[in-house]
């Protein structure tokens, strides 16, 4: 089990290194100087969103509203900043908005028992509309310079947004790994009924997972505002699908209970690497979606076939691995 778990993230690490090596060998500019740092910077929004999404996916739910949550939070952040409010109250309000959106999702899923895909699809429409209503359909420009400058200022050689991402992923990883409450997320996703029987507050854990996803969307929104400096109407459109793709590529299972936050983060970096490599490979930008889609399919299918192989391989049939087999059989049923 532990070896398979390790394999899940190892494959994405190998993929990223191989991909960077291949693109770098074709065009050496891709690996020279600041390019890799730039790659990290441009992936940071997806990276932060993927961390939040992992919590939800670990509990075997899904949140497709993160893109629109991010859009709404970015709009509110922009409006408050252009309105002359100082930084800390803005940060607090935006975080609260994200948390509230997550709370709404979480309440519907955990307590009203609405299937997560439906609940968050509904929220997606609601928040998208709310964003247009708050901005009045206009783009927000003139973000104060002190806020935009945050994205270029660096600390110990790394820009502030990257630090935010690194701190979040470290905090999330340690929480999931070391705290009792962190392990609950895995338990709930692996076997909700079992978790309930041993006294884990399943509904509460799910609700908190959605809240964390909402909060990560609001943090991503603030990074977006400082990076881009203006907020178009379509901010965050389609982001939700990229985030889920990133998490899945990074080895987080949609069946719950499997995967890590840093795997999801690496998945985000990988997807961004594909996008930004096209420039270096002199491929027109409209190839972007086709290549990402194809790679996503190849990765998930080969991963699934690899897991099948591991399950059927006779030398793996030890008691230890059997502990993990129950999970795979569950995957069979729900995917069928």
């Amino acid at each position: 089990m532990a070896r398979i778990m390790k394999g899940r993230e190892a494959s994405i690490v190998i993929l990223i290194i191989a991909f960077i090596a291949i693109v770098g060998s074709i065009n050496s500019k891709f690996v020279e100087g600041n390019s890799l740092l730039l790659l990290l910077s441009s992936s940071i929004i997806l990276f932060i969103l993927a961390i939040g999404q992992s919590f939800v996916l670990l509990t075997a739910e899904i949140d497709v509203s993160v893109g629109s949550t991010m859009g709404l939070c970015a709009a509110i952040c922009g409006l408050l900043l252009t309105g002359g409010m100082s930084v800390w109250p803005v940060v607090l309000i935006v975080l609260l908005v994200g948390a509230a959106a997550g709370l709404f999702n979480g309440f519907g899923v955990a307590y009203l028992k609405i299937p997560a895909i439906i609940m968050t699809l509904g929220t997606l429409g609601i928040l998208r509309g709310l964003m247009i209503i708050t901005t009045g359909g206009k783009w927000i420009e003139d973000i104060p310079n002190f806020f935009k400058k945050l994205s270029t200022e660096s600390f110990l050689g790394l820009p502030i947004p990257i630090w935010i991402g690194l701190i979040l992923v470290a905090a999330a990883y340690l929480m999931l790994r070391l705290t009792r409450f962190g392990r609950y997320f895995y338990a709930v996703g692996d076997n909700a009924d079992g978790a309930r029987l041993i006294g884990i507050p399943v509904a509460k854990v799910k609700m908190i997972a959605f809240m964390l996803s909402g909060i990560s969307a609001s943090i991503a929104a603030m990074v977006f505002v400082m990076n881009i400096g203006f907020i178009p109407n379509q901010t965050g459109n389609g982001m939700e699908l990229q985030v889920i793709a990133a998490a899945v590529v990074g080895g987080v299972s949609l069946n719950g209970g499997l995967g890590t936050v840093w795997g999801a983060g690496l998945g985000a970096i990988f997807l961004t690497a594909i996008n930004s490599s096209l420039i270096y490979l002199k491929i027109p930008a409209y190839w972007n979606n086709a290549i990402s889609g194809l790679l996503l399919l190849v990765i998930v299918i080969s991963n699934s076939k690899f897991q099948d192989y591991l399950r059927n391989a006779p030398f793996k049939r030890t008691a230890f691995v059997k502990g993990g087999m129950g999970k795979d059989e569950k995957a069979d049923q729900s995917s069928a």
Binding site: I117, M119, L124, G137, L241, Y286, G293, L294, L296, V300
Partner: protein
């Protein structure tokens, strides 16, 4: 008496009632709304939702989902445009484009049937893939990514804009789809097997049903639904664009779920989906007449989706047996 009450408590009846309430509400808000000609012609704006949603019902009954339908609409649209600009007869181009959409569905279904990957992830991947292919086709054809191809022959434009017996053509498409798929779902062996696959995959396999075959065909049908929807949209706007239908996923899935199909599979009707797509379309049209933008209407559509599922999840059987009890007592 009992029979009538059961009929009244059916979800489809609730939807029809809701539709009537909706029409009354909007006509109170704006007397212009109750113009029958307007109401019928407004259907042109949203018939494509129904066309994509009706076959999607099959996929959701099997317990799957297809989020790539929006991309299939765009892919079909741009294929028609590109084939036509390269000198092909427009109807042949339409036929080939629909065949492409069927292949897209077969790709979805094939991967889902032959791997352990969840339908959501697979169609997420193909969503990127198909919309990417659509962009590549349109980008490779001199037209930059989002620019449309227009100037189609009149006969093709009339397909969605013309009238037959005084009614707009798309309406006939919707009715034809409703009848065709309702018959497939409730009267054929294939339809019953779709339900069984959705209720219990393992039982379906053990009872000798070719479950993989059933699954693949469900996705092919959903692909063709997206394809026809793309044809109608292309003809309606008389322009072929790669990003046509990019926003269609939310209303299409909302229509299926609002129509009473269970997202976990095993339950659903084509008629419900059809009525629900009219409910949603009418809602969008009415709200737009109250001068709301299409993004603002998505707030309402989102709430309806959530509330509809809540109502479906409510313990209707208790209420039903309560009503039965009362009628017996009388």
């Amino acid at each position: 008496m009992k029979k009538q009450i059961n009929l009244l408590l059916r979800w489809e009846m609730a939807l029809v009632l809701f539709l009537i309430v909706e029409i009354i509400f909007f006509s109170m808000m704006n007397p212009q709304f109750l113009n029958v000609t307007n109401l019928i012609f407004s259907m042109n704006d949203y018939v494509y939702i129904g066309l994509a949603a009706i076959p999607m019902t099959f996929v959701i009954i099997t317990g799957g989902i297809d989020v790539s339908v929006g991309s299939v609409i765009g892919l079909t649209s741009i294929s028609i445009g590109v084939l036509w600009t390269n000198g092909m007869e427009v109807w042949l181009a339409v036929l080939i484009a629909v065949a492409i959409s069927a292949c897209a569905g077969a790709v979805n279904g094939g991967i889902i049937a032959y791997s352990n990957v969840q339908p959501l992830v697979v169609t997420l991947g193909t969503m990127f893939l198909f919309s990417g292919i659509a962009l590549v086709i349109s980008g490779g054809n001199s037209a930059s990514g989002y620019e449309g191809i227009s100037g189609f022959p009149d006969a093709f434009v009339q397909l969605a804009n013309g009238l037959t017996f005084g009614l707009p053509n798309p309406l006939y498409f919707l009715i034809f789809f409703l009848l065709l798929f309702a018959v497939i779902l409730s009267l054929t062996r294939y339809g019953r097997q779709v339900f069984l696959v959705g209720i219990n995959m393992k039982a379906a396999v053990y009872s000798g049903i070719r479950a993989k075959f059933i699954l693949i065909w469900a996705y092919v049908l959903a692909g063709v639904g997206g394809g026809i929807s793309g044809v109608i949209l292309t003809s309606y706007f008389s322009s072929a664009r790669a990003d046509l239908g990019a926003e269609a996923v939310l209303p299409v899935i909302t229509a299926v779920v609002l129509g009473g199909t269970s997202i976990t599979g095993g339950k659903g009707t084509v008629l419900g989906t059809g009525i629900a797509s009219v409910v949603i379309g009418m809602m969008q049209y009415g709200l737009q007449m109250m001068s709301m933008t299409s993004q603002e209407t998505s707030v309402v559509v989102g709430f309806i989706l959530i509330i509809a599922v809540l109502l479906r999840l409510a313990k209707w059987n208790n209420i039903r047996s309560f009503v039965k009890f009362r009628s017996h007592a009388e």
